[in-house]
Symmetry: C2
Subunit: 422 residues, 2 copies
């Protein structure tokens, strides 16, 4: 069977997909009897024609030629961003094409509408490449775990931030040095805001929320905290306490309630997620009845991601079972109601009574302390104090923090990092 596709966008993933198909499509044919043929590749940048020519693929800068080609059955959108990707996908669906996309930002923002439209016109949207690049996570959840309830998701979904946190700990360097190193290595963009701020992780969490719970959350309602506030000291102290700092996407289903969050988190050393280093991605799932599962691999990189794109093209050709997820009866939890243990770091003046003042405030907010360590004096006259608390409510912690940071003995702002006990 011959499958004719069109590709829009010849950036990193787009050009890698051309290369991958050139190198591995004979393997696909041998395994599935399917022959994938790229009928037309499109990019607004004329210069990209060279890449298409290299792989013997017809090229155009006119997207309507791809959208209107009746022989093209599936359109692979690899532009990224909201527009014009959104308009192209919408038009393609209305013209009866299936879609394969790696566009997490678009799906997180307009996924609900696009999946609704796809169902209306009886077409499919393949999105394996949108979360965790090369890891066959979408297929594993939607098909492999088709009979499972997903109770919890913990994901390291962004390679840039994982690399920065990893380097800060490994080389004992601060955030901005680690960021520069990531940029030098090509692991972070020049404008790294989307990664650093946790937005990219949030986008992917939204897609997983749809897949696992049928819920497209409003992006603004999901608590999202990036990594720029993490001090190298925190990573060192956490390590001494047997924890690693990871930027986690968290989803917990508790009956009708769904707790979605993105924030730096202390992960116990020994937990499989704690060992996910460098630019790797991993997703840990707590399910019934399959138990806990971990999927680990490359989350980015053109060639790695192209394998997910091709897997979607093949799956779409051989069946049509990526059915629309039904919305479940679920209420989004606000982070202020969430309970967890906390790592706290105060920079205190080295004078008597500091601990008494801090612990009095914590006690008044029903927060009890599990351990305290006072470190050697550093940075002129400040003394770092590290606390681990027992489980406490986020709103109580926030109130305590406001009051603690107003103490004259504390150099504000203090640091809190949530601990997950898995």
């Amino acid at each position: 069977m011959v499958k004719k596709i069109g590709i829009i966008g010849l950036g990193n993933v787009g050009s890698a997909t051309l290369k991958s198909l050139a190198e591995y499509s004979s393997l696909v044919s041998r395994r599935t009897s399917l022959k994938i043929e790229i009928k037309l590749a499109c990019d607004l940048r004329k210069g990209k024609g060279k890449i298409a020519a290299k792989y013997g693929v017809a090229f155009t800068t006119d997207v309507s030629k791809v959208l209107n080609d009746p022989q093209i059955d599936t359109i692979v959108e690899l532009i990224g961003g909201i527009e014009p990707a959104y308009s192209f996908i919408k038009e393609a669906l209305l013209k009866g094409k299936n879609i394969v996309t790696a566009n997490k930002a678009l799906l997180a923002e307009r996924g609900q509408e696009l999946f609704f439209l796809a169902r209306k016109v009886g077409k499919n949207i393949g999105f394996e490449a949108s979360v965790c690049g090369a890891i066959p996570l979408i297929k594993s959840i939607s098909e492999g775990l088709v009979s499972c309830e997903i109770k919890k998701i913990y994901g390291i979904l962004n390679g840039t931030t994982n690399y920065i946190l990893y380097k800060m700990g490994q080389e004992k360097i601060d955030f901005s040095s680690a960021l520069r190193r990531a940029q030098k290595k090509g692991f972070a963009e020049k404008k790294p805001h989307f990664d650093i701020s946790g937005i990219d992780t949030l986008n992917k969490l939204c897609i997983l929320s749809y897949l696992c719970f049928g819920v497209w959350p409003s992006l603004k309602r999901v608590y999202t905290e990036g990594i720029s506030k993490i001090d190298m000291l925190d990573i060192v102290y956490a390590e001494e306490l047997n924890y690693r700092v990871k930027l986690l996407a968290i989803a917990k289903r508790q009956g009708k309630f769904l707790d979605l969050r993105v924030h730096p988190t202390l992960v116990p050393i020994g937990h499989p997620l704690s060992g996910v280093s460098s630019t790797y991605n991993a997703v840990y799932l707590d399910t019934q009845p399959a138990g806990d599962l971990l999927f680990y691999g490359r989350g980015a990189g053109g060639m790695a991601t192209s394998s997910a794109v091709i897997s979607d093209i093949v799956s779409m050709s051989l069946d049509s079972k990526i059915s629309e997820r039904k919305k479940e009866n679920i209420i989004l939890k606000n982070i202020t109601t969430v309970r967890s243990r906390y790592y706290m770091r105060f920079m205190a003046y080295d004078e008597p009574g500091v601990l008494a003042k801090v612990s009095k405030i914590l006690a008044s907010q029903h927060i009890s302390i599990a351990s305290v360590t006072q470190k050697e004096k550093l940075r002129r006259k400040f003394v770092p104090v590290i606390m681990i608390t027992h489980a406490a409510k986020e709103s109580d912690m926030q109130k305590a923090l406001l009051r603690i940071d107003k103490l004259s003995v504390i150099k504000s702002p203090s640091q809190i990092i949530r601990i997950e006990d898995f």
Copy 2:
């Protein structure tokens, strides 16, 4: 769409599948519009009828009633072992039924014949549950990585042996104590030979070999070494050298050559496989272009495995793309030609000249030593000597070992464990 199935074998996985379908089939219907109906369950043991009755499923002890029911489209074989499972599956295929099975021993031994027959009659065999229980590994490799070359597989495929090795290190107990503990916890059978000897791991490696390379190896031709020879000391010393001892299934494709092996292996601490503890399973794949991937989860347990069984039933109903793998032009490598680094442990008499004698033999076999540690004397007059070698050929190592163990200063037999550098 309603899908009528028959289940043969109501042991651990069989009865869990009934329970799972009772609890989660409404979830499956909501997600896929597929209604799975168990038309008939069968077990030779009359007493198993109670389990069927509990879930409102019709029961018979006469397998021909299942095989001859024209309404049953898919037969789920959960008996285990070669016969009568083999005859039932063969008959079922000839009667035009699809098969879902968890039977790794049967597939490893007769898989080639059964898959050939399935293709001839245009039916499918789903075998997700046969390797790594709840982990959607078969689907991930066959569909998610459809465009990828698998270059290397490293698998912890047996929960019993992983638990024993883990407990030996964690509690500093010897092999037989750890085995008894595993038996007490229900993690090892009363007759644990299949697990301990590596045969169960070998069976699963054969299935992965078929899936990844299209090759069904002859079981006898794959080097297989179990864990009963591992001493608690080895685990302790390996840990001091920053390694964990794991029973690995290894497959490496090098051009035309395929290197398949099962043996205890030193895995560097920090590698994702080193952290796979207790009864967990994990598979690490080195692929092109998807890079390296790890899949981790429960490898056994009835309820966990039932999710793989149900996933196969669903996949089979919605498509028919688990195509037969083509045999590739591949030659099995003999372990004697394999090169690796080695951990060696000698129990030597505490007298001068021991190291000189041992290292002379190693040098004469072209084996060079990377590090030596002589431990405190223990167990009467023996001194443990630990060596790490540079890469050496297995046949050279075996020859050296024979000669070393004949030395009068050595308490025979010495220990070797292969090191994988990943």
